[in-house]
């Protein structure tokens, strides 16, 4: 079969999502979406370049300046051991974002593959969807608790919980999208000219499902961050002195009445990240894939 050399380009009735006329332009006209994107970009860049952006060493304690409220020198104040909170927030955001991204990317990939395989091989469908149902039966926080109990608390426990929490939903969405693509004529045509299963799955099916999965994952990202930071807050995630936003909020709780900023500033940071992610996800969905609307 030399079909490979023909380079068949699989398309649905609609052209590729990002190419779809004016999708990006429409997004750019949405003021909320633009602000959310800018906010996420700023936060993301600050997190990536944390060592250069942070004004102080996030682990440097200074017992002469403990629990200082926000000031010109320490914009977000200092914590109970005199560490600069702004610097810790920047480093903490790095860990929190990383948790969310790994959860969404790994969970999204696994879930996407499961969903697409379920749509392509009817014989696997029943088994895969039962597996997904079983996975759905575990709330994410509970998985986090169980994993932390078994392997010990740490970032790894949180990552596992977030991945397990992402997989089943993505698998459902991916399967739904893939079943739609399967009924398109080009799938049949591809099969008729003898395109291999692998090519059919990757070039024809997956490429046509990826935008739906992508939009869904942006919508989930905020939730995943919330779950991750809740596990951090419960002490199941990053261990001190590592900075992670949820854990920082938990530590600040002990000094809530003396220095409320230690706990509220990290909580606020999580709120801003999740809000921006949710707003951007909503806007992206409206532009790219209105079918996902609830």
């Amino acid at each position: 079969m030399s079909v490979e050399t023909l380079e068949p380009i699989a398309t649905t009735d609609e052209p590729g999502v990002f190419a779809r006329s004016g999708a990006l332009r429409r997004l750019a006209r949405d003021k909320v979406a633009v602000i959310a994107t800018l906010a996420l970009l700023t936060i993301g860049l600050a997190a990536i370049f944390a060592p250069w952006v942070a004004p102080y060493d996030p682990y440097l304690t200074d017992l002469t300046i403990v629990m200082q409220p926000p000031s010109a020198e320490h914009w977000f104040g200092t914590d109970n051991t005199g560490r600069d909170i702004l610097s810790r927030i920047i480093f903490g955001t790095r860990n929190t974002l990383m948790l969310g991204l790994v959860g969404v990317i790994v969970g999204g990939a696994l879930g996407g593959v499961l969903g697409i395989l379920a749509a392509y091989y009817p014989r696997l469908d029943g088994w895969i969807m039962r597996l997904v149902d079983v996975m759905l039966a575990f709330p994410a926080i509970l998985i986090g608790l169980a994993v932390a109990a078994i392997f010990g608390a740490g970032l790894a426990a949180v990552v596992i919980a977030l991945v397990v929490a992402t997989v089943p939903d993505v698998a459902r969405v991916a399967r739904g999208a893939a079943v739609g693509v399967m009924s398109q004529e080009f799938m049949e045509a591809g099969r008729a000219v003898g395109v291999s299963d692998r090519t059919l799955i990757w070039r024809y099916l997956t490429l046509n499902c990826i935008s739906t999965i992508f939009v869904f994952l942006t919508l989930r990202f905020g939730q995943i961050i919330l779950i991750g930071s809740a596990l951090g807050f419960l002490g199941m995630g990053a261990q001190p002195p590592t900075a992670e936003l949820g854990m920082m909020a938990a530590q600040g709780r002990d000094f809530l009445f003396m220095a409320p900023h230690i706990a509220t500033i990290p909580s606020c940071a999580i709120f801003v990240i999740v809000l921006a992610a949710n707003l951007l996800g909503d806007a992206l969905r409206d532009v790219l894939d209105p079918r996902l609307q609830t």
């Binding site: 608790l145 909020a249 909580s267």
Partner: protein, 312 residues
């Protein structure tokens, strides 16, 4: 309808086995030597050997797992390493407060969410609508503990209006004040999603023929909205409320920990932090089984409420 329920039960069974296996791992497989942990740090070698024999740790894992299921079925979850009390007894004390907390949260969130959502739908496109939707997006994006921290700091501490640590007793015995702040914290995260979905559902129904008929009959607008629109919009909302059980259980773990509320979630977290494997295993199992049961109930209720949605 029968098929649907059987299907749900069939899904719940492997999930239940999965839960049990996780808990089993926690108890028998994870600790390097459970016998040593149970016996304590300065136990004699004979004691450890006796416990190992008693626990059946010398037998193959599948046999041990089967025996474990048998014990669980009889309600024997082992003894806490820390307090040496039966885990089942400790759990029995914590289930009530957790249920109380979750019901309290629902009682706050459901009426508020329904009202806000309906109001937004009726005032569609106005400032009120946009404000309510903005609040609900903000609510969805807010970590549970953030709301809790704010309530503790202001309502509890600064203004001294309500207690914010522990539970003073059951509701009927003067425990209501101590329930309000935890329930409000947990309920707050639910208001957003409920309001959002109610708005969508009511908007959909408002365009229906029977609503036009009701208006044409000259019924008052309030009657049309409450009796005709809202009632029919309730079906998806009820499902959502049920599906939020996961959210609520997860949130309950955080809320209980924050407010020192003596529930199952706090017991689980405390047990994990102090490596009290038997207690952790029992608490996680109860939470998971509660979640499975709520899901099952919602599915059955859903089919019952709306016969149109019977899946094949």
């Amino acid at each position: 309808m029968g098929r649907q329920i059987v299907h749900r039960l069939l899904i719940s069974f492997p999930a239940l086995l999965g839960v049990l296996f996780l808990c089993f791992c926690l108890l028998q497989v994870v600790p390097a030597d459970p016998a040593m942990i149970i016996a304590g740090p300065d136990a004699k070698a004979e004691t450890i050997a006796a416990i190992r024999l008693e626990l059946g740790l010398d037998r193959p894992i599948p046999v041990q797992f089967a025996e474990y299921i048998g014990r669980v079925a009889r309600g024997d979850l082992g003894r806490s390493i820390i307090s040496n009390k039966m885990v089942s007894e400790e759990l029995a004390l914590t289930i009530g407060p957790t249920v109380e907390l979750m019901l309290g949260a629902m009682l706050i969130a459901v009426p508020l969410g329904l009202t806000l959502g309906t109001l937004a739908a009726v005032k569609r496109g106005t400032f009120v609508d946009r404000l309510i939707m903005a609040i609900s997006v903000a609510g969805v994006s807010m970590p549970v503990f953030f709301i809790g921290l704010i309530l503790i700091q202001y309502v509890g501490f600064k203004w001294g209006m309500l207690p914010f640590t522990g539970r003073t007793g059951p509701i009927w015995d003067g425990g209501l004040p101590s329930l309000i702040l935890p329930a409000a914290t947990l309920g707050a995260v639910l208001i957003g999603p409920i309001a959002r979905l109610t708005r969508t559902a009511v908007l959909e129904v408002l365009g229906a023929d029977y609503v036009r008929t009701a208006r044409a009959k000259g019924l008052r607008e309030t009657v049309v909205i409450v009796h005709h629109a809202l009632r029919n919009a309730l079906i998806p909302v009820v499902t959502l409320i049920g599906l939020q059980a996961a959210f609520l259980l997860g949130g309950a773990v955080v809320t209980e920990t924050m407010f020192s509320w003596p529930g199952v979630g706090r017991l689980a977290v405390g047990a994990i932090v102090s490596s009290d494997f038997p207690t952790a295993q029992g608490a996680i199992m109860i939470l998971a089984i509660a979640f499975l049961s709520i899901n099952l109930l919602v599915d059955v209720l859903y089919v019952y409420l709306d016969p149109r949605v019977q899946r094949t």
